[in-house]
Symmetry: C2
Subunit: 557 residues, 2 copies
């Protein structure tokens, strides 16, 4: 018997699963909610863009969940022995970089910076660096357009250098105290294997390629000259990043004696290179060429791979195209929607139509399910949190159109779901327009698991069957798959996935009549999408949302 | 002493006031709620466009309210004597036509038709004739563009011939049983003066000119040939309409002995020609050249007059330009917004954000009042019930833009109020673009009376002082003014208005800082307005709302 541990660091909690490498069954699952901030996030009421996390929560979470999961596995299966655990895999949110000192210690864990949010981990959804993102985009457009070509043409405020540069500009004391910045996904394996000292640290291809403009074709990270033009101190940081990154089937190192003792594991078992949750979630959903994995939660990640042997063009608006970021020997392509579940949550929690009971997800879903496509006359854009793919524009906002004096909450609720389905279709179409054929769609994440109406709408809108991943914890399962490969339980990813991953029996097939209506609605959605989203379009509405945000900021300042 | 009676037929009730002609003070005010249907309106759950009323309610309402108002006046003022009542004025909603037989009896009051909604009065907000409106517009564009030039370029589904033609098409038994159709505003004075037989009936300029394409320059109502092209039976109706209409300072006739006895009034006192509520509301608010009177309720009417001596161009999008329809010797110009209070009511009653208590008008207003212009980043179009002026298009729908994951109900509530203010400004601008100068704005109606935040927003958006009419019942007061003129208590309207009308001490002056922000927001509103509202605009969004409605109808059929 061989088991592996998958550690999955989410936005609000960390989950540990212990998985049987022969069939993917989960013997133990433990979740630890981060203690610091609100639901694990340090917020600033005065700045909605700010979202930080305490790295100490990450460490405590690893220890607590692995220990409890081992206990649980022992109860689930009498034959289970912690000595049969052959490897550990780790996924995290990202880009979530944290500043560390010369010894690799996070500044947030030093007394001088313990209460300084800028010294903590800058969570993926921190958008404080939006001005810096625009600055980086502009400079890269001028001097190194190839940097942007692999990440959708626009450098995002969610990404590594936007955050680091914003810290440099607004909290120079923190920036100056940091020796380098490390992605959460790199820091955990480094800690577990004792390679967290900056000289030993291995950086993963996934984070570097998707969020930090790393590509071997131009010598790794962006060059010193480029970064120095943004700020000379950023140029200095470049030296600490090195020139090499590691692909997902490699190990970060071996579990240290200290951690092995603390957790009750065998010292020296390999810990796989970390990767982002979406990437290992795709692995856990059985991703392979031709399969789109949609991880549907508060936002979505839409993951695709294409063999490295194919000649892949740059695809505008796709957030990242990085060799080896999801599977070895494949390009990993990442797209996504900035808000999906978050939009429905907004309507339920902020608008509360009809009050808490009448306006619950359950009550609204029940009523919305009775509506026919097109019946409400409503159409919405799914941009309440900007648009990640295809427009790569954080400064887009929501739109609802078609309301009368009789429009009901469930009609709006359904229109919001449909809007996210249209957004999903726009992403599929973008992949295919550039030669990346999608022949199968596998969904995972809480919403895919629980909301049959949404899944049916997605099938009807896209005209494609919607399958659902068998595991409810595909990210953690993907980490366990990575651990199985580095731990030697399986020879490679395709063998490991075949053994450990699968889909549910229940799938959602498109209903022709509904699809016919949604085809018409999608054409209107696309018209709105282009008019409000594309700057270049003649007589476009592109300025409107931005002008409103500018006005909003002016009156608030 | 001379008193007059003002009878004001609203959408849900009729109000009677008894007014002192020397100073406009109201000695008695009685309201009677119509008994038939829901809040006085016969509805069809399967067709939101249908809205009818029972003419029997009108008669009962006149009797009950006048008798009670006389009693009340006696209690209010010991010197009051019903013999000092020198005239009666009447206003009603419109266009609200009803079919009558050869004797002038409404079909709805005959046994054969008592339960047939098509035989009742077709209330102003009945939109069942929208297809016929489009048909009339198209034919007039081709054959008699001058017919449309005086009513904004588009014949509305709310108006006389759209309703009559729709009845002809869909309820031919009712149409064939009718000898002619009479506006509610003509029928009441005719009944009170015994001139309700079709041979004696006088039709008022106001209804004929604004809603039935009457103009002396082309010989009165549209010609037989034109109407026959729509349907030969409509051509036949033309004969029963006559060629003459009567202006507001003329009497319909003298109170019959029978009604005088029933009401306790002096037989033979004059009853003024009827007019629409908005027109006499404008009179009661002291309208004169240069003054815009805004009657703000569920919808708005925006009334302006210009001396007949001025050379007035046709103004596209203004619903009507009719000589003598508001004041004698002036053009009466009517504009309006299809929904104002109705939009806020929709949000509160249909969406109920946060539940009934948290989502009440009061609670939302309190929170919305604390927001600064532009602060929410939201922008809305005020088209939930179409656009009456400037686009004259019933098939436009609402739009809300700029929402994020943090948008709150009070922000939406304020955005909806602002949208109606932008719509109001678009109307003012349209008047002035065509040389009709607006130097003063007087508001009346429930919302103007009660909602200080809304009034301040209107001042800030328009950059103009918002005054409020002194009387809370300006329509009824306007009818009493009309009665005072025909009853001889005043020589003419300007004398009568000077004595009987006025404005409140409290007014709302624009705050420069707010106006500056709203100027920017209005430019964006105008951009949306034109893109979604104008067909001709290149790369417009004009099709979107209509396509959605077409789709909606297809899936519902």
């Amino acid at each position: 018997m061989a088991y592996t541990i998958g550690l999955d660091y989410g936005t609000n909690s960390v989950r540990c699963v212990i998985v049987d490498t022969t069939n993917g069954s989960e013997l133990g699952t433990v979740v630890y909610e981060y203690e610091t901030g609100q639901a694990g996030i340090i917020l600033d009421p005065a700045d909605h863009n700010l979202a930080r996390q305490n790295p100490a929560d990450y460490l405590k979470g690893a220890e607590v969940t692995i220990k409890q999961a081992i206990q649980q596995a022992g109860k689930t299966c009498k034959k289970f022995n912690p000595k049969d655990i052959v490897g550990i895999g780790v996924d995290t949110t990202g880009s979530t970089p944290l500043p560390v000192d010369k010894n690799g210690t996070p500044l947030a864990m030093l007394d001088a910076f313990r209460d300084n949010p800028n010294a903590h981990a800058w969570l993926w959804k921190d958008h404080t660096g939006y001005a810096e993102a625009a600055e980086i985009t502009e400079l890269a457009k001028k001097e190194h357009p190839e940097y942007l070509a692999k990440c959708g043409g626009t450098y995002s405020s969610e990404w590594f250098f936007s955050k680091v540069l914003h810290c440099l500009r607004t909290a120079p004391n923190v920036y100056d105290a940091a020796y380098t910045w490390i992605e959460h996904a790199d820091w955990i394996p480094a800690i577990l294997t004792g390679t967290d000292h900056p000289d030993k640290l291995k950086r993963c291809r996934c984070a570097a390629g998707h969020k930090a403009m790393f590509n071997d074709s131009w010598g790794g990270y962006p060059d010193v000259k480029f970064l120095s033009k943004l700020d000379t101190r950023l140029g200095k940081l470049r030296q600490t990043l090195g020139n090499k990154t590691y692909v997902i089937d490699q190990a970060a190192g071996k579990l240290t004696d200290e951690w092995a003792k603390k957790l009750g594991l065998t010292p020296g078992i390999p810990v796989a290179m970390g990767a982002f949750d979406a990437h290992l979630g795709a692995v856990g959903s059985g991703i392979k060429p031709g399969v789109l994995v949609k991880i549907i939660g508060t936002s979505t990640c839409d993951m695709v791979v294409a063999p490295s042997s194919t000649k892949l063009p740059d695809i505008p608006g796709i957030c990242g195209i990085v060799e080896g970021s999801i599977l070895p020997d494949c390009y990993g392509l990442e797209a996504g929607q900035s808000a999906v579940g978050d939009i429905f949550n907004w309507f339920v929690n902020y608008i509360q139509p009809g009050g808490k009971e009448a306006g619950s997800h359950l009550a609204l879903t029940e009523k919305a399910a009775k509506l026919k496509p097109g019946q409400s006359g409503l159409l919405a854009l799914d941009w309440n949190n900007g648009n990640r793919t295809i427009l790569v524009d954080q400064r887009l906002t929501g739109l609802l159109l078609g309301q009368t004096l009789h429009t009901k909450p469930e009609e709006i609720y359904r229109a919001l779901i449909e809007a996210t389905a249209f957004g999903a279709l726009a992403i599929i179409n973008r992949f295919e327009e550039y030669g990346v054929k999608i022949s199968e769609v596998v969904n995972c994440g809480g919403i895919a698991e629980k909301n049959a109406m949404l899944m049916q709408i997605y099938a009807d809108v896209t005209g494609r069957e919607m399958k659902v991943s068998r595991s409810a914890q595909t990210c953690a399962l993907g980490s366990a798959v990575a651990a199985a490969v580095v731990g030697g339980a399986h020879h490679d990813y395709s063998t490991a996935q075949a053994a450990m991953c699968g889909i549910k029996d229940v799938t959602y097939k498109p209903i022709a009549k509904n699809h016919a209506v949604y085809k018409k609605l999608y054409a209107l959605y696309k018209q709105l999408h282009d008019a409000f989203g594309l700057k270049e379009k003649s007589a476009s509405m592109h300025n409107i949302m931005k002008d409103l945000l500018n006005i909003k900021e002016t009156v608030n300042s």
